[in-house]
Amino acid sequence: MSMNRNDWQNAFGRPDDEFRLHLRQTLDGLEEKDMKKRYKISTVLIAAVIMVAMLAGAGIAASRLGVFRLLEYADPIVPLQGAEELVATNLGTSENEYAILTVEEAVFDGQGVLVKCRMTPKDNEGYVLFDDFMQDASEDDYIRQSVPVKVPQGEQTSETEKGVQTVINGGERVSETEEGAQLIADGGDVQKLLLDGEEIEIPSSREEALEKGLIVYRMDSELYYADFEEFQVLGRKDGRELMGYDLSSSVQDNLIFMDMSDAQGQEDGGVIWWDSGVADNVLDVDEIRMRVSAKVYIDGEEIPLDEISFTLPKSEEERRYVFTPAGDAFGERFEILNGSMVCTKVRGYLKIDYRYQQAEAGEEMGIDFRIYDADGQRINTGSGSCHEENGVYHWNMEMQSFAEIPETIFLEAKVIGEDKTLGRVECKLIEE
């Protein structure tokens, strides 16, 4: 596949007029304080039957090390010996009539936090927790296919190569409201397809509709779009029903923004879910307050579980270092200004401030750094971020921690996406 970005973007094309108008109307309405109330939000019925119980920590021991899972991706970061002893366990349980949520493990090391939760359906012979946003659906276990999309009630008009096609499905009134044109279904059973204003027969199969260039077809008294199908995970091959879920964690006062999560389905129909966040700097606190919230979806209903709140003490005193270039701070078109490193038993946190001049051609994605010790061994880095401010780039990255801090590290500047190195700078580490 050799396509440029324009080719890719042409899959969906440019925003249509309705989208553009709607966005501008939304922006126009932002000044009004109560504007959020004016907008219709897609609705779901919410049933809130919540029961709280505290359960003993069943199964904790077997998964004790699991909280570090998010460090194991990409270039793995291995917690130092003793890190597992810092992990707080069995931090709370919540349940509703369908599922049980347990915050099994969490650790806060002064700058970063890791959380591991487990949610299990109560009827695990009847249900499997699944969220296609977070999880893979293997063909061995899941039924996956494209499914037809029903035409909603109301009147809809489309300009097609065949002509202007109008579908009337169960109602045909359109009403102008403060929020714009609204389709109103009258609940009737009228089903019509008009081509350039003339009623035509509705195809009885998708194939027929596609062959005739028509936008809908009728099957079992329902209208479906012809050239528009939705890919779905339909269910489980073992017959268990899918139960959707949402899980999220947060740190009080937004001291740390939780920015990475993952989930893994379990044989018992439950999921193990991980979340991770890193602050920009070591926090000047002895503990943080966290919340984990969850909800499940049954038959389209959103059913929350009670939020779990807990306090996480800072697990250890971090070791802080600054580094400065030992010699030449420059490479090809970049300059290391300064940096710092924080080490805990869980992970390290590296900050590099640098200047960089992009090449005249290429290098659209800038540069990244690889870290080496004095023996030339690469030191793994994990997730992080980089932003530019007044010509200075600030690179923040989680990294492998050290039991013994080296005197020297080497920063190698690599062009992202290209096999091109701009230089290597030796830096001396000094304890703060």
């Binding site: 970005r5 989208f19 932002l30 296609d132 389709l183 920015d259 997730s383």
Partner: protein, 153 residues
């Protein structure tokens, strides 16, 4: 950031908001709802955005969350209230669109963010809240699948 700046920056990424919502939601009205909610939430929380240079990534993430919320709410619920999108998708690459939409969501989003919107793996990891290694794996799997799907056309 004042309202004028906010609006200007939102309009600058209008196409991106549109394409991401198209990639995640099949229903046109749902897309309008998702983008509207994302913009409203973005404006309500813009003071919490510590670095304005992250604006696009930040808004993208809010939009994805909104789309995700709508997907969850829609799961197992039909019919949808919508207007059709056929007209809006004239003169577009239908085989590619079909192939992208045929991907599972966890493969589809990295593809849209990477190839369509030009985000780096690290940024995609931050937007989707998944590890960078997972992004790379999913991109590789998605590309392989897309190739097969497009060859079938």
């Amino acid at each position: 950031m004042n309202k004028q700046d906010f609006s200007r920056r939102v309009l600058a990424v209008e196409g991106r908001l549109y394409r991401i919502s198209c990639g995640m939601l099949q229903n046109h009205q749902d897309r309008l709802d998702a983008v509207q909610e994302a913009v409203v939430k973005g404006w309500a929380n813009v003071d919490r955005l510590r670095h304005e240079q992250y604006f696009e990534t930040w808004l993208t993430r809010i939009l994805i969350n909104e789309c995700h919320n709508i997907q969850n709410a829609r799961r197992n619920t039909v019919p949808l209230e919508a207007v059709p999108e056929q007209g809006a998708w004239e003169n577009t690459n239908k085989p590619l669109r079909d192939a992208i939409l045929a991907l599972e969501m966890n493969l589809r989003l990295p593809v849209i963010l990477c190839y369509m919107e030009g985000y780096r793996v690290r940024e995609i990891a931050q937007i989707l809240k998944i590890p960078e290694g997972t992004v790379k794996t999913r991109l590789a799997r998605a590309k392989k699948k897309l190739k097969l799907l497009l060859e079938e056309e």
